[in-house]
Subunit: 357 residues, 4 copies
């Protein structure tokens, strides 16, 4: 407790405060910063450069093994505002994972949900409850809460990708569970098409009848391929006239976000186009797939401008204004905690400006 | 009222019956057939041959104009069990529509919802609230309740397709409204891609953010293209090992049936494969797109077998067992009233046999 | 087919029409009345007088037994517009049921759902899947689709009540199933409180944890008591200032209508108050519990005015304007098919006037 | 970062770690405790004695004023495991609030939602967006997210009650907003019945038609009265035969929890009855209304037993086993974050034992 507002010198009050302390009580009137006019956000706007992530990933690849115990060769983005916590923003873990040729990151599962987004390269397979998902550039791959997952790289070349997890949220709710997979050598299955995609990637609105039961709380489709995303972006672009298109990845059978804790979206911005300035409650992590841009975060004196290129990861804290001006054509992948805020009635979105070309 | 069960000769009862009749009342105990152990269905299994539908459509094309007043050159499938009512089964209207080259079927709208399925040919455009949808072989095109729709054929060749409407249901609910479109010459718009598809046909689970508002009570996607359906069928076939695949057309954003009154599905059956025998409450109308098959309807002595080929339309009344054996590879499109029965808690589905190869 | 519009004398057309007839096809352009600007409703506004219903019920009680085979001593309201069909409006069965002292109407179940509303008297018990529900004045008692139900009257006095069923809807969907209950003598259970109420009638928003599983497609609460309804009406009246209050009976756990096919509501209108004129698609059956009123149905020249008193049953066909002026304080119970039209996107409600005092 | 697991002495690794640190990255393989087999929960089982809460509340009443700036005279339960954070468990704020006669706690609103539960006394009015809610013993009163609320005590006697807020969750999501109400003197409205109750407390399943629009994300009913709860508990007790009854407070119109972040339940346990041992993810705060009991928290060596009496507040951390044995008849009110975990697919509930009498 800082210096008391009331009666610092009053012996009765001092006695009360002592009693309170002994009884594990705290006087509200002496607490500060609990209820603020607007969110007071500790995490700050930040950019991790793709170039450095690739270089440091490769370096870690040389020095650090991947196997049971270590499990994953992962570099976590630690927001400078969060006092050393390994989180990109308050509610999201973001990281790069690096797998050398012929390596296997063994199977485990945990209640925190994860997703993988691939900025470059291909060739690693992620198995989700045994279903082999090939990972290629621009793909989004899900490893939902409590599904066993492992990665294996059958080829000789290393691969790097981005991981995003809802770990801070699950931890804040005291709901982290973890379990290792079978300890015999990890599976190395591949397949022309994952079972998930064979059943559920049939096209917009085409869903199976009589297939496997739907999982609760998440999409049955576990991989969203860039070729489909690219087509959808261009189709939408043709319907808008703003140089801007935006897609959300959703459950193809029931609608809604791919997982209950993370929203995934991709935006395409034509060269020279500036998006409207928007802000929303909750954190976001953006990753540049293609193109270059200026990402402007914050407002007034506090504005920060990041020049981004492919592989860059950008932290956008809660309630921070955001605007983007594309240099070359930009494809930007973003994960947010919006489904959490939405479910709890706490999502506020403010759009200051219309889209402008 | 037929011969009374109770006291035909009793003068007191006769007096009561007279009073009841004067008072617009009927004695339940004299009514028959109200509550039967199983549905007593008036419509019967029936097949309309595609060959005849095409021939008679063409003949009507020669003899009957299409314009305001006539509006549509349509031949309605009238189930022989329904005493002259122009319905394929109790709850569904099915018909073929024929449009000659350079003809226009003018705009109107009505609360009964319609869908179009194209068995052969292409080239006609259906405008739904002004959005131009090209119609090609194997496509499903929706004209949902109370949307203005018109058809125009810019080319020289005639075209024929199947219409299915929920008209019997809407009529039974006393909820039919109808309105003609603007009376000046109908629009003849075409476009590389309908607006509906530009926004919503982006691929499984890829939905727009910030697009046009979603319509209530129906899919925002109005055309489902055969190329996508074909791909989805083959993908699913690779995941099953039964020589059988089955898809439902759904709202790509929110899930659920394309329209609240009609369920659309397509089945692919490999040559020689027999599907399990199933039956369900509510009526169905099936249409052969590709291949040949024996469709067995009914059970025991009442079984009827139809040898079908492309363009054939088959009425499957409520609670009638159905099994299919494909000759050449079969693609069968089916519309049912299952969403109605499901919403009302009245859908019963019975599957007698497992899928067999 | 009536006189053809086109080419009655044209031999080619005549030949086509003959071919169509042989092929079970009908030319749309010769069909009339399928798509009308507004609903063309066969049922007409009608009132069955409570006085006559009671008298004829009693007379039937003298002359007609109730037991297996007859099952129910019921007089069905047959709308004069429906050509002898025993339905109050196109989509609803309404009737009075009369049970003499010590009689039992044996157990059966059927997919059509039923409800009972009691205008006067008490003492009969309805068992729903064995749960004994006492019936008293002003109570609403549900016997949902496919629940076994029976009525027994342990006391010496006869009792009469109103039944409403969704039978026309279920019949139109070819989904009627019926089954008799166990043939040994019917149960004659009573209880201080039905199990349904012990679990679910705990008060607004108070629902059990760990109780019996919820039934699908209907309310778990099977009896709504007049004392609760009366209290709720007066509370609401105190919040409005219009001399008018209106309640809907709903599923207390999940919200929504009590059953998927029938909406139940009750209105209280203070003496001298006139309600706004409204109309809606779908049929309604109203029953006067307390008070007197003028019920005005229709508009313009077609308007009909009914002076109603307790026990009167009134048929309100689809899309018919309705306004009520209370004489003494009116309590009016109404059942409609609105949940059906709502689920199918076909409900239109038009309110011409604001509430007026 | 603690002592590195890998190559503490390896200069290459040291160089990598330095680069990572400069780049705001952290190596996953050196992080500990992120993914644990079961939740590692910092908050501990704890009991705040009602006797002390009342005494210290009264003492604060003597020494601390309530007005603009201070706003609330509240003592927050600070879980001893949470290092001084003023939270009862990780996700819930619990406190007692004390208002002297004739005092007013001025209006404000905030995105964290609050509820009030009254263990003894009555006479204070909480205004929620201007609607006056009387507070009496056993009542639950809601002040949902972003509703203006104030408390005023028109009588001479002080009053104390329990507050529970979802503040830790809203803070973790960086979504706290706060606004003071109008600065003129606070309203002191009272009313025979709150508007909220006039519309929505009509009884189980009885909901208004044509009333005020429903608020999103929370119950329209803001006060749940003990008389109703008591009746519901006894009705349920009559249906069970276990000496145990349990109710959830819900949205009476749409079903579901009263607010999206907090679940409210009340249990009645007959003297001598022991409840089954259960545990669930997420935190709980229990408050004794009537009776005495032993509350056993934890398992094996870590078990703690609390002898509780009216007014006691008990913190039950995530995944902590809980069993209760009633001394005299117990009424226990509990708030949990279960709706949050449920919405996110993270709620696990384990019931070790059946209910026993």
């Amino acid at each position: 407790m800082a210096t008391p507002k009331f009666g610092a010198a009053d012996p009765d009050l001092a006695a009360l405060y002592e009693r309170l302390s002994e009884t594990s009580l705290q006087p509200l009137w002496e607490l500060r910063g609990l209820l603020t006019p607007e969110p007071v956000v500790r995490s700050v706007p930040h950019r991790w450069a793709g170039k450095e992530l690739r270089e440091l990933g490769a370096k870690a690849g040389e020095l650090i093994p991947v196997d049971r115990g270590g499990d994953r060769r992962v570099l976590a983005c630690a927001n400078p505002g969060l006092d050393g916590a390994p989180y990109a923003v308050s509610t999201l873990w973001a990281a790069v994972q690096y797998l050398r040729g012929h390596e296997v990151a063994p199977a485990h599962r945990h209640t925190p949900a994860a997703l993988r987004f691939i900025v470059e390269g291909e060739g690693v397979w992620t198995l989700v409850d045994g279903d082999p998902l090939h990972m290629g550039t621009g793909d989004l791959v899900l490893t939902p809460s409590w599904t066993f997952h492992e990665h294996h790289n059958p080829g000789p070349d290393p691969m790097i990708w981005m991981d995003v997890l809802d770990l801070p949220v699950v931890a804040a709710l005291d709901a982290v569970f973890f379990e290792e997979g079978p300890s015999e050598q990890a599976a190395r299955t591949t397949a022309p098409l994952s079972s998930s995609e064979a059943w559920y990637a049939g096209g917009a609105g085409l869903v199976p009848v009589g297939g496997p039961g739907l999982p609760s709380h998440r999409s049955p489709l576990l991989a969203y391929r860039w070729a489909d995303t690219e087509l959808a972006l261009e189709r939408q672009m043709s319907a808008r006239e703003s140089g801007y298109a935006r897609l959300r990845y959703t459950d193809p059978v029931r609608g809604g976000d791919v997982m209950p804790t993370m929203r995934c979206e991709v935006e395409r911005v034509r060269p020279g186009t500036t998006t409207p300035t928007t802000r929303q409650t909750g954190g976001q992590v953006a990753c540049v797939l293609h193109g270059t841009a200026q990402i402007k975060l914050g407002a007034g004196d506090a504005v920060q401008v990041f020049d981004v290129e492919p592989g860059d990861i950008v932290a956008i804290p809660s309630w921070t204004p955001r605007a983007i001006t594309a240099g070359t054509q930009l494809d930007l992948f973003t994960t947010s905690d919006a489904p959490v805020l939405e479910a709890l009635g706490l999502l506020r979105v403010e759009t200051a400006l219309k889209e402008s070309a």
